[in-house]
């Protein structure tokens, strides 16, 4: 089993969470999907969202990021950072605050590239079309003409190990659930406090 896991940090950027034919368990809010990876590819850095102008000392509307959506049976693994000087609150899905502490939802700003150069702490996964959204908080006394996010990551195509499809394998799923076979758990959403 290769040394792969979520939030991995090392020299360089980041590794995929699974390789070809490896098993994953995708958690989306309260639903769980046991899958096997049958294709993966890297996604180079790209500008995934421009919130647009944000007024002085204002907060943008909560803005979905459809460019991070994945196709059916696919999940994406992304790390990201803003390239404009706003604090970004992430919601994943739109109604669930990500990085929620008891009193504070922790934002990400441009300093992330200095404080966490591998962007480990920004890592999120996106399951199919369940994309995240963000709010941009402009603390300046002047408007920002744009608030843009850059993401980098991996795309994984998976097959379903559950149900009665051609790749279903109930014995394997039972072994994954019991821990007899290795499986990487991937959280593709936040989780509301108390949920």
């Amino acid at each position: 089993m290769p040394d792969l896991y979520i939030f991995k940090a090392q020299v360089g950027m980041f590794d995929p969470v699974a390789l070809q034919n490896q098993n994953v368990c995708i958690h989306y809010v309260q639903s769980i999907h046991y899958r096997k990876v049958d294709y993966l590819e890297a996604i180079p850095p790209f500008q995934c969202l421009d919130v647009g102008a944000v007024g002085a000392a204002a907060v943008s509307v909560r803005t979905l990021i459809p460019n991070l959506e994945m196709a059916n049976n696919e999940f994406g693994l992304f790390r990201w950072y803003p390239i404009d000087d706003a604090q970004i609150r992430l919601f994943h899905p739109a109604g669930v605050a990500k990085w929620q502490l008891r009193w504070l939802q922790v934002p990400v700003d441009m300093n992330i590239v200095n404080r966490d150069p591998n962007l480990v702490s920004t890592e999120i996964a996106v399951w199919e079309d369940n994309r995240p959204s963000i709010e941009a908080v402009n603390g300046h006394a002047f408007a920002l003409a744009a608030v843009r996010l850059v993401a980098i990551g991996y795309r994984f195509h998976t097959v379903n190990l559950e149900g009665d499809g051609p790749d279903a394998n109930s014995n394997l799923v039972a072994q994954l659930k019991s821990g007899q076979q290795p499986c990487t758990h991937v959280w593709a959403s936040g989780r509301a406090i108390g949920d």
């Binding site: 000392a57 922790v106 934002p107 700003d109 441009m110 200095n114 908080v137 300046h140 006394a141």
Partner: protein
């Protein structure tokens, strides 16, 4: 794994016209960001550009506050008649830090001086 490196965001401020001389007429040239979600921000002066609109040779003071409350952050910067004077890391400009809005005023004026700061946002 990265090491903690220089922790900063560089932001240009607005072009502000200094139209009146004297400390009582100090005006805000960069506003401390206070509307963010969390954290206290400060700014360090990274560059100062002065454009002297035929105001004669004079000096510009940069600090915080106005009138009796003015506290200089930097020693006076020369502003030469009709010229653009640029101060920055290349000229060993001190990266003085402010936790309040940065203000500036010219010592003397015939017309006006345009000033623009580039600052490092900290915090």
């Amino acid at each position: 794994m990265g090491l903690l490196v220089e922790d900063r965001i560089i932001v240009p401020g607005p072009i502000v016209n200094l139209a009146a001389a004297g400390v009582a007429n100090a005006v805000v040239v960069f506003t401390i960001p206070v509307g963010q979600l969390v954290g206290t921000k400060s700014v360090k002066i990274h560059r100062v550009n002065l454009y002297n609109n035929a105001s004669g040779n004079t000096q510009v003071l940069i600090g915080t506050g106005v009138a009796g409350g003015f506290a200089a952050l930097l020693a006076a910067l020369d502003s030469m008649n009709g010229l653009n004077d640029s101060y920055g890391p290349e000229t060993n400009l001190i990266q003085a830090e402010a936790f309040a809005d940065i203000t500036a005023y010219p010592v003397a004026l015939i017309t006006t001086i345009d000033i623009q700061l580039e600052v490092i946002i900290c915090g």
